[in-house]
């Protein structure tokens, strides 16, 4: 049994990963397990909501494409994937990964793989932030008179 926050974290990492990255991750853990498609990969939309002024009344900003997939492993574990975009194969691999992760111990190969992906994503975010930080303004004031 995994706590929800841990599962939310790996689902977020998988949502940001590419199909190739998830594929490589799964290969580290062995052959792709047999699984039933409870919901075959399907592309739809989610209406993205904003708030007026950032914190006020909710409004609909516009939709975003989202692809989802739900699988069940032979042992009965269900895996879910919901992510932006239209990559059905990525959704299926991510759902299988989600199902496997739920029964894997913390030091298992998938957990370690997700951790590595999370670090990679964090490093990319930090680099972008440092590049933005290079454009931060240093004001200096010219003092005139006494």
């Amino acid at each position: 049994m995994t706590d929800i926050a841990t599962r939310q974290h790996w689902m977020a990492v998988l949502a940001r990963a590419t199909q190739g990255e998830i594929d490589a991750l799964l290969q580290q853990a062995g052959p792709l397990p047999t699984h039933e498609l409870l919901k075959a990969p399907e592309t739809g939309t989610v209406m993205v909501e904003g708030r007026a002024g950032g914190a006020g009344r909710r409004f609909n900003l516009g939709e975003a494409t989202v692809t989802r997939c739900v699988v069940r492993l032979e042992g009965g574990a269900m895996g879910f994937s919901y992510a932006l975009g239209r990559d059905g194969r990525k959704a299926r691999l991510a759902a299988v990964t989600d199902a496997l992760l739920q029964s894997e111990i913390e030091t298992g190969p998938l957990r370690r793989g997700v951790f590595a992906l999370a670090q990679k994503q964090q490093a990319a975010r930090e680099l972008a932030s440092r590049k933005a930080a290079a454009t931060k303004v240093d004001f200096f004031t010219l003092v005139r008179g006494g």
Binding site: E36, L38, G76, A77, M78
Partner: protein
């Protein structure tokens, strides 16, 4: 994992064509009231739902259509199944439901408890799926109204004694009122709000 996880069966194998086929049949059921239509056996329903109820909701319900279910169904596999496949919210208040499933033999809730729509948007009423013991073999009820050339007779079984009086009251508030689908097995029979009850024998 929640205990319900292992209970959820598959939905449509071919969502596009199976839901379109079912939609066509539901359209026929409501446009020719009293004629039973077959919704097929595309899915294995969860406990408590007739096959036609499951197919109809899989076809029509989504996250924007709250569903009302009797408490026993709501808290059981049927509720989990509908949440999973339709993404629909299950509501406690019958008046907030876009779709409802009731047991035809139970005394509550009455048809009048559901949303009858309002003058501006009569179409926002609840569609009530009434699961009953059979669509023939019961007392004969004669229907009249749009979609019926002359009159049509039906004889469903397993409905509560006051059911037809409720259907009459529902027709009386037209253009408001709920639309009713009688369901048994894979069959569905439409009783839209425009249908009048002429005689019960």
């Amino acid at each position: 994992m929640t205990p319900n996880d292992t209970l959820i069966g598959a939905g449509f194998a071919d969502p596009v064509f199976q839901s379109q086929g079912a939609f066509r049949a539901l359209l026929a059921a409501l446009s020719e009231p009293g004629l039973a239509c077959d919704l097929g056996d595309a899915v294995v329903p969860p406990a408590g739902l007739e096959p036609a109820t499951a197919v109809a909701l899989l076809t029509l319900a989504d996250y924007e259509t709250p569903i009302w279910l009797p408490a026993a169904l709501r808290d059981g596999p049927a509720g989990a199944w509908l949440r999973f496949h339709c993404g629909a919210a299950l509501v406690d208040d019958p008046a907030k439901a876009a779709f409802a499933v009731i047991d035809g033999a139970a005394t509550e809730p009455k048809l009048a408890a559901f949303n009858a729509g309002d003058d501006q948007f009569p179409d926002r009423s609840t569609t009530v799926l009434v699961q009953c013991a059979g669509l023939d073999g019961g007392e004969a009820v004669t229907l009249e109204g749009p979609g019926i050339a002359g009159q049509r007779s039906i004889a469903p079984t397993g409905l509560r004694p006051a059911f037809w009086a409720e259907v009459e009251d529902n027709a009386a508030v037209y253009p408001l009122g709920v639309d009713v689908l009688l369901v048994h097995g894979a069959q569905v029979l439409g009783l839209p709000r425009s249908t009048q009850i002429v005689e019960i024998r």
